[in-house]
């Protein structure tokens, strides 16, 4: 990884020039066919903290638990001095908003954190990301970052086991495999996130090839219930209003353990559908220095420990361990790997139709 250290103070005008330069470089180098080393050098240009302060608060979009993100951003600001504002938007809400903003030139988001790596890869292909190689990129396995490093990086792995509360579901009766969800006893008692969640898309995308062809048809007959967040699913499980969380983010399980709530997570033998939660910088960023500092911190060992401690999630870094988090290395994770197919708009439309029908819309 090439590093450049120029602690210059940059005035307003040069900041703009620099931004333009970075935008052009980040979005167009690969397409223009410039030498990889040159592109990498540009993408690895170290951010200027003073310029970041002058740029104003970094705008962060995410689909995570708002409280967790705010807690992390507070620590980030304390460590770096860079201010932030955040907005929680699941991929289904974020992307159309982003599209509309791109079309009208009103985009204001700098860093985008999403559960849908396919969307991020699509943005990259559309030249709508800035490439910036985080300083600790080498700590990430190739499967947890964009093929060409710096476009996007995984900031945690969102595994999605089934979940239940033994106070309301006997352990021996609880589903052990995904096909156990088709048992009539769970009719109307299975909860999933709705179609706006990237994790729902990933669940469908990876499971359709693993489970029997008619699985989703049969699951639809079970009348699962749609929730807009895994927090709501977890809450309803703990309140006894929902028997089975069909796919619940693993950090909800960890949060429940921390709160000493007796929930159980089931990692079926067929595999646990998972997604890379990825972060990247939007091409129209107005705060490139602040955004880069944010990416650097979030992907650093310290930032990863902090973020995953707060959320209770597994880090993509091997050197970060979080208490209560199940060992993902001993779990069969099913991650979307065929990105061309994963990004295919027709496939997404198919998913939305199936998922909406399944959840009663």
């Amino acid at each position: 990884m090439t590093k450049r250290s120029d602690g210059r103070t940059i005035s307003a005008s040069p900041i703009l020039s620099r931004r333009k330069l970075l935008l052009t470089a980040g979005a167009g180098l690969a397409a223009a066919g410039l030498p990889r080393s040159s592109a990498l050098a540009q993408a690895s240009a170290k951010p200027d903290p003073k310029a970041a302060a002058a740029e104003g608060p970094v705008v962060v979009w995410h689909g995570d638990q708002e409280g967790d993100v705010v807690e992390f951003l507070k620590i980030f600001t304390q460590k770096t001095g860079v201010q932030t504002v955040q907005q929680r938007l699941l991929p289904g809400a974020a992307v159309p908003k982003l599209e509309a903003e791109f079309r009208t030139g009103t985009s204001d988001v700098d860093a985008y954190m999403t559960s849908d790596a396919g969307i991020m890869e699509t943005l990259r292909q559309q030249n709508r990301l800035v490439r910036y190689v985080p300083q600790e990129i080498d700590a990430y396995d190739k499967s947890y970052r964009s093929e060409e490093p710096g476009w996007w990086t995984t900031y945690y792995i969102n595994a999605g086991p089934m979940m239940y509360d033994p106070r309301f579901v006997k352990e021996e009766e609880a589903p052990k495999t995904w096909t156990d969800l088709l048992d009539p006893r769970w009719s109307g008692q299975i909860g999933f996130q709705n179609a706006s969640a990237g994790t729902s898309y990933a669940f469908w995308f990876v499971m359709k090839d693993v489970l029997p062809k008619d699985f989703f048809e049969k699951l639809t007959a079970q009348k699962p219930r749609a929730y807009s967040s895994s927090t709501q699913i977890q809450q309803d499980i703990e309140r006894g209003n929902l028997k089975i969380g069909g796919r619940v983010s693993v950090f909800q399980y960890v949060k429940a353990l921390r709160a000493k709530n007796p929930v159980k997570a089931v990692f079926p033998k067929e595999g646990t559908p998972s997604v890379n939660q990825v972060v990247g910088i939007i091409g129209s960023t107005k705060r490139p220095n602040g955004a880069k500092i944010f990416i650097d911190y979030l992907t650093s060992r310290e930032g990863q420990q902090s973020w995953n401690d707060i959320q209770g999630s597994p880090s993509a870094r091997a050197d970060v361990k979080v208490e209560h988090v199940p060992d993902i290395n001993s779990t069969k994770l099913l991650l979307p790997t065929n990105f061309a197919e994963y990004m295919n708009p027709a496939r997404r439309r198919e998913f939305v139709t199936i998922w909406n029908k399944m959840t009663g819309l």
Binding site: V60, T104, G240, R349
Partner: protein, 572 residues
């Protein structure tokens, strides 16, 4: 709400001057038409878009989206079911409460008048959150109490059902009916009731055969208001219906627009169907009232005799008290209890309660802190701008000789027919395409609020404007006072109580608003409604309850302050 009286016949000279449209009419007409017409145009084009679902404007047109709606008639059927059921129940509650409070000698009428009004400004979001904690089938407080008291292993109520949604809609919309029908009851000429008594009509018979039919315009107005509100209601069906696979138009639209890729055209088509149904409801009410005379409820001021219901008095008292309990005491109590918990599992041991959730939402969490400040600013802004615009429009409609006044009134009332979620959707598109930077600002939210609440503001101000004798202003004009001086020294002072009441109402409905701001609020312009909704989404029960209580406190403080400032002359 009684129909607004038309001004006296215009003299011949006046008729001549009405040949042209004067600035006090065309300026607001153009502004309102632009603010409503452009979003509506975008909605219509999207509804007929059969090409790229995200294209704006559309390039391929057809009726495919409306045909697709035929596969989802359940959304429309459910919407009509909830709106009709909620309106019938709400109106029944409203008539009963209005009559008991305004026409009987039931004790505590003054307090009840205030207490039954509060649930409306508290709003459906608070109502839905509270009742999800009271009426959840397994751990709702009412069901827990029922199971504990009876030993039953089944719930008494399930709020996550169509009946539950109708119930919550009705109890939180009923105060509007009380306000509208109660106002008409207070102005009613008692002569007919007295005649009924003289000819041997009992109290119940007089109430059902004389009072109730005379209230028909007010009842229909209230029913129309409730029907349109419930048709466009978002928070209650979303919070109580979505997880139970129960979809009405609004939560279906929300999910359609949240999925990726979003289905804007189908959502827009559904929105247009919703607007069409609202239009049909308005037309039906006008048709029912057309050609019938209800003059006994307008004109001179009367003070109808209060009816002593003797043995029934305490029954009525208990019924009003029950309403206050289910619409105010229990919901706020449930939210208060949930707000001091450490998890979503409610604990009744005070030693384990905490105020940390309040500290979190008011001090520690920057988003809600910003949302509280922004909502307060928006409340003040919407109140001030809304009242100013509504006053000018009301004066133009009822005082001007310009032609186009009727059209101005109709356009002003038009947003009532637009479900706010749908309007916000179109308004967002409009803001995105404007040549100046309005997107993402608080000003965009403010403008949306002013437009969507204009019917409420106009209804409040026009009701006051028509009550003021025009002769007072004319005398001042004859005495040489300018228009501005007349407004400052005559009109505005006379409108004071109406202005205050309308301002307070706009402030409160803005602070509790969610549908219009859901799409317009962003990272830089967070407001309370969406912030509470987001907390409900991912923040957990204790914190969302604490934030809902904070919102309720803001609304109740505003209500208290305005009533204290203005005295009893205002009715909110």
């Amino acid at each position: 709400m009684t129909s607004v009286a038309e001004p006296a016949a215009v003299p011949a000279a006046g008729r001549r001057s009405r040949q042209r449209v004067r600035p006090e009419v065309w300026i607001p007409l153009v502004l309102l038409t632009g603010a409503l017409g452009y979003p509506l145009f975008l909605l219509v084009t999207s509804a007929f878009n059969v090409g790229d679902p995200q294209a704006l404007p559309a390039v391929e047109y057809g009726i495919g989206n409306f045909v697709e709606l035929l596969d989802h008639l359940d959304w429309i059927r459910n919407t009509l079911l909830i709106a009709t059921g909620g309106t019938i129940l709400g109106i029944t509650i409203g008539i009963g409460l209005a009559w008991t409070i305004h026409r009987t000698t039931v004790p505590g009428r003054r307090w009840f008048e205030l207490l039954v009004a509060i649930p409306y400004p508290l709003g459906p979001l608070v109502g839905a959150l509270a009742w999800s904690q009271l009426g959840a089938p397994r751990d709702g407080l009412i069901n827990r109490l029922f199971m504990w008291a009876t030993g039953a292993n089944y719930p008494l109520i399930d709020i996550y059902t169509p009946a539950g949604i109708i119930f919550v809609e009705a109890i939180f919309e009923a105060p509007v009916a009380v306000l509208i029908i109660g106002a008409a009851m207070q102005r009613m000429d008692p002569a007919l009731e007295e005649s009924s008594s003289i000819f041997g009509g009992g109290k119940w018979r007089t109430a059902f055969k004389i009072t109730l039919p005379l209230m028909l315009p007010a009842i229909l107005s209230a029913a129309l208001f409730m029907f349109t509100s419930i048709m466009g209601s978002f928070a209650i069906p979303t919070i109580l219906g979505t997880n139970a696979r129960f979809f009405v138009a609004t939560n279906a639209i929300y999910v359609l627009m949240q999925g990726y890729p979003p289905n804007y055209p189908l959502a827009a088509a559904l929105g247009l169907v919703l607007i069409a149904f609202t239009g049909i409801a308005v037309w039906l009410v006008q048709r029912v009232l057309r050609g019938r005379s209800f003059v006994v409820v307008s004109g001179r001021n009367y003070r109808p005799r209060l009816v002593n219901m003797r043995g029934w008095t305490w029954v009525l008292f208990a019924l009003v008290l029950t309403y206050v309990a289910i619409s105010l005491v229990l919901p706020l109590g449930a939210l208060l209890l949930a707000s001091v918990q450490t998890s979503s599992d409610l604990n009744f041991n005070p030693a384990l309660w905490t105020l940390a959730n309040y500290k979190y939402v008011v001090i520690d969490f920057p988003t809600t802190r910003q949302a509280i400040v922004n909502s307060l600013m928006l409340g003040v802004g919407t109140g001030t701008l809304g009242v100013a615009c509504a006053t000018l429009i009301a004066v133009a409609v009822h005082r001007s000789n310009s032609s186009g006044r009727k059209l101005l009134e109709q356009v002003t009332m038009l947003p009532q027919a637009f479900p706010r979620l749908i309007f916000a959707f179109g308004f967002l598109w409009m803001v995105l395409t404007l040549p100046f930077p309005l997107y993402g600002t608080l000003l965009a939210v403010l403008l949306a609020y002013v437009v969507v609440f204009m019917p409420l503001a106009y209804r409040g101000m026009s009701g006051v404007v028509v009550q003021i004798d025009k002769a007072l202003e004319e005398a001042a004009r004859v005495g040489g006072a300018s228009w501005g001086r007349v407004m400052r020294t005559i009109t505005v002072p006379l409108l004071r109580s109406g202005i205050l009441a309308t301002w307070a109402l706009l402030f409160m409905v803005s602070v509790r608003e969610i549908s219009a701001s859901l799409f317009l609020a962003g990272a830089h312009n967070q407001v309370l409604g969406p912030a509470i909704f987001n907390f409900w989404d991912s923040g957990g029960l204790p914190r969302v309850s604490a934030l809902a209580i904070v919102q309720a406190i803001i609304i109740l403080v505003a209500l208290y302050a305005v009533r204290r400032w203005a005295g009893r002359e205002i009715k909110i």
